[in-house]
Amino acid sequence: MNGNRIKNALAVGLALVAGGLFAQAPVTISYMNFSGAGDMSPNLTKMKEAFEKRNPGIKVNIETFAYADYFTQLQTRAAAGKLSDAFELNYENFVAYAKRGALLDLASVGADTKGLAPKAVEAFAYAGKQYGLPESFSTVLLFYNQALFDRAKVGYPNSDWTWKDVQAAAEKIRALDKTIYGIYQPVQFWEFYKLVKQNGGSLVSADNKKFTVNSPANVATLTNIVERYTKSNVSPTSAQMGGVGDWDLFKSGRLGMIVTGIWAFNEFIRDCDFPWDVAVEPGNTARATHFFSNGIVVSKTAKNAKAAAAWAQFMASSNEAANIRLDASWELPAVTSPEIMAKYTKAPVPASRWAVYESLNYLVTPVVIDQNQEMVDILNQQLTAAKEGTKTPAQALSDAQKDLASKIKL
């Protein structure tokens, strides 16, 4: 009798201990990313800690790679069927993974897009399914050196400015000194897709079925930006740059304006010893501004899909993650909460920080297709030929059109 009691007690005890152990055994999810590389690493760790505090049953195992290596890593793992449970994708690479069925429809695990910027949410949907949640987005602004504007006696850029005003200001600033330049705006795909929209053009037809790269509006757009280098020389040629980076040129006080991303804020605040500010990028016949976004997706083969989706949700829409992001000036959280927006615009430098939110009214998304990088490289090669003066803008765009039509399936 006693023996039975002891046995029963032992069995109950063991069951309790085992039950307790299993109930508390945390689920570990793997997360692969690029945006947390370098300086941002401690901020990603803070987000992980906040998430794990809120979700004691889930542990996040973070793997971070530099952007240059990230997509090769990802591709190799995808081919081996060993993708992380959750991973980061930028908007440009999202389609390739969504189209190949590598991602989980997040609606199936209860993901919620409420409170997230609609444009960013839309960017991570494919064929009617929400395969990713946007964690951050960023845009491009016109940054300007107020000291050079004052020296050249030119009024500061404002929301009414057009390409003509930019050119006039750039010429006056260029006239200050032979080592001072008016404006730097790279001649490459990620600028061009937006510039053509500012001039009423587009790289593809309205139904996305054919390329319209060499339309008259696009040729005029390319001519305008190329002549900054080849004719008025308000922009420094590659030889004049001599290996100096565009940000370094601005920080050295030798550049009146630069069109670049808001991710430059931290570095410019730290390194510029002259007053500077920002404005929404001027257009020509229309306004159009950049859209970049990073999102978190869950692998279709994730072992712990629900936990991985919870992590994606936390990174995208929680106030904790948004605040950590804002405190670190780590791009812009994709949440539309008024408190977060107010916190972002409250920072003193640059004074016109509100321009970030204003520019969101004119966002245009780049064409994103299956053969995206190939398309970008074909266009970049021809745009560089026009910039270097080896082809006229019309010839370069005509060659790009031919090349794209023969190599890229839309």
């Binding site: 952007y67 240059a68 997509f71 090769t72 591709q75 995808a78 081919a79 081996a80 069927g81 390739a96 993974y97 190949r100 069925g101 590598a102 490459q188 795909f189 990620w190 590659s238 030889a239 004049q240 001599g242 290996g243 053969q371 990088q373 190939e374 970008v376 490289d377 074909i378 970049n380 090669q381 560089t384 030929a385 270097e388 080896t390």
Partner: protein, 306 residues
């Protein structure tokens, strides 16, 4: 008489296995896989199964697409431009360095170490330094040319001069390595040949052309074969010096696009692993052809008499 009887395969197998396994897993299987992939349009993203191979099967379509397009021939001509400049210059410079290293004087050991340092330097570090050396406005070479009253070219920014810039960097990096191989050959030549020639009144030039070059020809042949194969496999210099993030690789305007760079770009940037595999096999064919040609030609200039 106690003779050790050869054990045959059973005895050799444990010794052969580690290397054979490595060869099988890391060379032969990937080779076979790449040949199979070159007949498909596999994207390198989806998990490779027999169904995927069947669905993406194009037969020789990838080879037709590569050989039928202008890109292959343009890229091949870029590679030949590199070879035409690099191979004679590396042979000349490595031979010159090896002859200097072969002099028996005090301090030559220091010179031997110094000449080998570039070989030990990582390609990334070396190429970044050379990017600065070749900078049109702030670079060392154009500064020196400027002092001599010569306007330097745009080097890596100029379609004509970008490849010579890559050649200069490669010479700096490789000369020490090939000089060391040639030094081995030079030290294998018996001094008695030179002594006899001197007794017959031969000068330095005659000794060089009639003794050094013929006796060194087997080593020179080895060096030519290696440099040619290396030239077709040109890659790190291009990725570091003329490929910028966000721009088309092999700038300017594709002037430094070469075979291996194309393989990498198609496989890992454009997600076209099938096409990249076809490029890889075409590269193999080109290298094989030239190596075969060299072996045929060697009879005319390589002397194994010594």
């Amino acid at each position: 008489m106690n003779r050790t009887k050869p054990g045959g395969w059973a005895q050799a197998l444990p010794f052969l296995l580690p290397s054979a396994l490595g060869l099988l897993v890391f060379s032969l299987l990937p080779l076979g896989a790449s040949l199979l992939l070159s007949l498909t349009t596999w994207d390198g993203l989806s998990v490779l199964t027999s169904d995927v191979v069947r669905d993406t099967w194009v037969g020789l379509g990838n080879f037709g697409a590569v050989l039928g397009g202008a890109e292959f021939w343009r890229v091949l001509s870029n590679t030949f431009y590199f070879i035409v400049l690099y191979v004679p210059l590396i042979l000349g410079s490595a031979l010159a360095v090896s002859m200097l290293l072969n002099v028996r004087r005090a301090g030559v050991g220091v010179f031997r170490v110094l000449s080998y340092i570039p070989v030990l330097t990582s390609w990334v570090a070396g190429a970044l330094i050379w990017k600065w050396i070749l900078s049109p406005e702030y670079g060392l070479i154009n500064d020196l040319l400027g002092m001599a009253g010569v306007q330097g070219p745009g080097w890596l920014l100029d379609r004509t001069w970008a490849m010579p810039g890559i050649v200069l960097t490669s010479l700096w990096k490789d000369a020490g390595y090939f000089a060391l191989i040639l030094l081995g050959g030079l030290q294998g030549i018996s001094p008695s040949f030179y002594e006899s020639a001197e007794l017959d009144g031969a000068g330095p030039w005659v000794k060089f052309t009639r003794i050094t070059l013929p006796l060194l020809s087997p080593i020179l042949f080895l060096v030519v074969t290696i440099t040619l194969i290396n030239s077709f496999q040109l890659f790190p210099q291009i990725m570091i010096m003329t490929t910028r993030e966000g721009m088309a690789p092999g700038e300017p305007l594709g002037a430094t696009q070469v075979m291996v760079e194309r393989i990498y770009t198609y496989a890992f940037k454009y997600y076209r692993m099938g096409l990249a595999s076809a490029w890889a096999w075409l590269l193999f064919a080109v290298i094989s052809l030239f190596t075969l040609l060299q072996f045929r030609l060697q009879k005319k200039w390589v002397s194994y008499d010594a």
